[in-house]
């Protein structure tokens, strides 16, 4: 699998995941992502799952692990555009309230506390 990370004003990271996320792939990308988080002034991660074709519970571990790293700075997490199956997995795991559907721009506004409508 692949991922892309975009920074917005140094405090928000948008991470786009592609392909299939399992234990093997989570192990490969975890430390790289973790490094970026711990370096900057990051307080928000937006996980864009729109192009992720598959995820098992390793995705829960990956996201919870980064939430823990952000908790020192009282950071926030947004899980953007999960598939139906991923939605169920996040629900079982108590992460339902972090999910949202929309564009990355919507998610960034949401993270900055500017909610439309």
């Amino acid at each position: 699998m692949n991922y892309e990370m975009d920074m917005h004003l140094n405090d928000i990271a948008v991470i786009r995941l592609y392909g299939e996320l399992d234990h093997h792939e989570a192990e490969k990308i975890r430390s790289q992502i973790s490094k970026t988080i711990l370096q900057g002034n990051l307080n928000t991660i937006i996980w864009n799952l729109e192009r992720l074709n598959f995820m098992d519970s390793s995705g829960i571990g990956l996201i919870l692990g980064r939430m823990r790293e952000l908790s020192a700075v009282n950071g926030q997490t947004i899980i953007l555009n999960p598939s139906n199956t991923m939605k169920k997995i996040f629900q079982f795991s108590g992460l339902a309230s972090y999910m949202m559907d929309g564009t990355e721009a919507d998610a960034i506004l949401h993270a900055r506390g500017i909610v439309n409508g």
């Binding site: 598959f54 571990g61 919870l64 997995i89």
Partner: protein, 147 residues
């Protein structure tokens, strides 16, 4: 019995995707919906990852077996390892229980498997191994065309 396959492989994490690909191809014959297929793949991925990670500590030697049978619109699968086994299956199956928190395992594997499968059994014996069996009925079945 309409079709049957067995896949065996050594316990390295790269083979998680191998198992998913094989099972995807096996299930494709039933023309599943996207959601049915992805739930099915998730169950297999959880069980196979557990065999590799927990059963064998990813030793690259232990053998994982995935056996699948199709009977009409029902597919039954058994994922088996001869690894270290589970001492207390009931406890292992509780949501959030994990023996590998340091690896960022969430402890949600069994909960997800149980939710997505129509029925799921776990048989395990310490130092002998573990077998996870489950089945799932596919509803949006187009019968294979004979032309």
């Amino acid at each position: 019995m309409d079709n049957e396959m067995t896949l065996t492989f050594v316990a390295i994490s790269e083979n998680e995707s191998l198992a998913r690909m094989a099972i995807t191809s096996f299930v494709a014959q039933l023309d599943p919906t996207i959601d049915e297929l992805s739930e099915f793949k998730t169950i297999v991925s959880e069980a196979v990852s557990n065999a590799i990670i927990h059963g064998y500590d990813e030793d690259g030697k232990g053998i994982v077996t995935v056996h699948a049978v199709r009977d009409g619109d029902v597919i039954s699968v058994a994922v088996k390892d001869n690894g270290k086994g589970i001492f207390d299956v009931k406890r292992a199956m509780e949501p959030l229980f994990t023996s590998k928190a340091e690896m960022e395992r969430s402890g949600m594997g069994f909960t997800i498997m149980e939710s997505f499968a129509d029925d799921l059994q776990v048989e395990s014996e310490p130092n002998v191994g573990t077998v996870v069996t489950f089945s799932k009925k596919f509803y949006s079945v187009k019968m294979p065309q004979i032309s």
